[in-house]
Amino acid sequence: MFTPESENAMTIGNGSTVLTRSTDSLPFLSDVELVPVRPEHFGELYRWSTDPASSFRWRFSGATPSPEQFAVALWTDVLCQFVAVDRATGAPHGLVVCYGASHKDGYAYAAVLGNPSRPTGTGAMVALLRLVDHVFTHFAFRKIYFEIPEYNLTQFGSSIHKYLTVEGRLKEHTFYRGQYADQVITRLSRVTWDDVVQPRFARFLGAASDSDAGSAIEER
């Protein structure tokens, strides 16, 4: 059990006190890499998309398309999409997709599908940040929309209010577990990305610097 000796900071000399704990499963965050979707990914993506435990969160919403339909649907209306993999092991974290792009009007939609066998989803969230970075770097969009069923909102924590703006709400839009849930349409603007989100999460985008990124609090 890790128990700091007091409420005050404790200096670790050789680390012996703290490091007695088993570290076999130690946390936390894999080094995530985005790779374009290839045919060899289909099986895994099909499994995630149709997994009864989680498919209600994704576009097929419980349906199980044929593998042929799935392969077509995977690219329908998609501008770019990537599988997020662990750089060291190649293990997949999730799929990130930019779709529904309107170059004329300057917007697109983005979504993330996490690997259901990874409980924390932090790798998928890093992947989503990198997708947004990619999209704003390569395309002249003003904003990116996220369509989020109300029952998925908790997966985003308080970031919904910190970084995204709610632009619309489709009342009782989607059916799940005996009731209709709202579909919340949120927006991340390029200005918010450039001024707030990108600097704060720079170290997860491969552009980290030790001095950056606006800690919420300074050590006392």
Binding site: F2, P4, A9, T11, P27, T120, T122, E219
Partner: protein, 83 residues
């Protein structure tokens, strides 16, 4: 050598993301981040804060559902690798 942050400091960081009543209970170090409701970008942001306060890069090791103490420990180990 890195200084391990006090419980009070970790609580203070957590309270930017988690309601105070959850972090004021005993044993906050032993609770998983998921159990505290620290998810999504908030989880990344909390790690970012720890990295800034401790002045240690974010550890990149296998993803799991860590407790707060495991998270701090990962930074300690990362710091050790840098020494």
């Amino acid at each position: 050598m890195m200084r391990v942050p006090s419980v009070a400091l970790v609580r203070q960081l957590l309270e930017h993301y988690v309601p105070a009543e959850r972090t004021e209970r005993d044993g906050v170090y032993e609770r998983s981040t998921a159990d505290l409701g620290l998810v999504g970008l908030d989880a990344l942001s909390f790690v970012n804060d720890l990295s800034n306060v401790l002045q240690v890069p974010v550890p990149t090791v296998a993803e799991s559902s860590p407790t707060v103490s495991e998270l701090v420990l990962a930074f300690v180990r990362q710091s050790g690798r840098e020494d």
